[in-house]
Subunit: 165 residues, 2 copies
């Protein structure tokens, strides 16, 4: 008889997100290099710094639950990043590339918002208050990044893409 519980789910998702964040950290410099707008490039660079801190927070969460920090392949983030690579391949060097990169980055953010939202709540239910607090800090950052990306889309990159061709 199987006796898996919330604790197992939480550990599974923690490993999934730990893998995902490290993938994102590797993808961000490529996205920054592909961006035409200096504003978007700066946003990707800033988010890479944030991602580094988010990875360290995950390591603290692993420590708090007494488990080694270990990732587990996350097919979702692999897929989202693959779509970003397709954007760079199909739209690289065109005035439309930035709008496509913003859309990719927002798909990444929304994946993380879903995952951190779930993990915050699970950590709380498991009595891991400090872990929940750390995860909530990251959740707030991901939500703020999503908003910044919308602003960049609205104020510049969507217009640039519209005028192209």
């Amino acid at each position: 008889m199987k006796t898996k519980s919330l604790d197992d789910l939480f550990q599974d998702m923690l490993k999934d997100v730990y893998y995902a964040e490290r993938k994102i950290l590797k993808a961000l410099p490529k996205m920054a290099r592909g961006a035409q707008s200096p504003e978007l490039r700066a946003a990707f660079e800033k988010h890479a710094d944030e991602t580094q801190i988010q990875i360290e927070r995950l390591q603290q969460v692993f420590e708090l639950i007494g488990k080694p920090a270990r990732g587990k392949t996350c097919p979702a983030i692999e897929g989202i990043i693959e779509e970003g690579e397709e954007i760079l391949e199909s739209f690289g060097g065109t005035d439309a590339v930035d709008a496509g990169l913003v859309a990719t980055a927002q798909a990444v953010e929304h994946y993380e918002i879903a995952r951190y939202g779930t993990m915050c709540r699970w950590a709380e239910m498991l009595g891991q208050k400090q872990a929940s607090k750390l995860l909530r800090e990251t959740l707030a950052e991901e939500e703020a990044t999503d908003k910044t990306l919308t602003e960049i889309a609205e104020t510049s990159v969507n217009q640039a893409a519209l005028k192209a061709a």
Copy 2:
């Protein structure tokens, strides 16, 4: 010289989401069958009906822009659904499965929220008011589904998972 623009990005994303919605329509009955709670099963069944309507709306959008309704492999949704299958494999039949299925479904919803949010805005900028209106209807449904899933998690399935093992 490449001259791709917002119009190309929009068509690309429309094909991506058209593929994704049909994948989701296929995945939902499996998730419903795996769910332990009748409430969660009913939510998945209801969302399958909604997804059918969302697919029809996308077909209308293709018609409005004068293009054939055609999908394009969406690695992101493949990845997210693969994670759902892993949940069913690892947690199927346990009291924790529902909490894992809710988390998967919320990752799906957030992917769609990101994509429909972007497409609404792009359609509007491209002067496709009717298309934008249709996409906004779906966006509102996805956001409502995400909220319903949070409620189900809070009122029943997370507690069931916590008590297990």
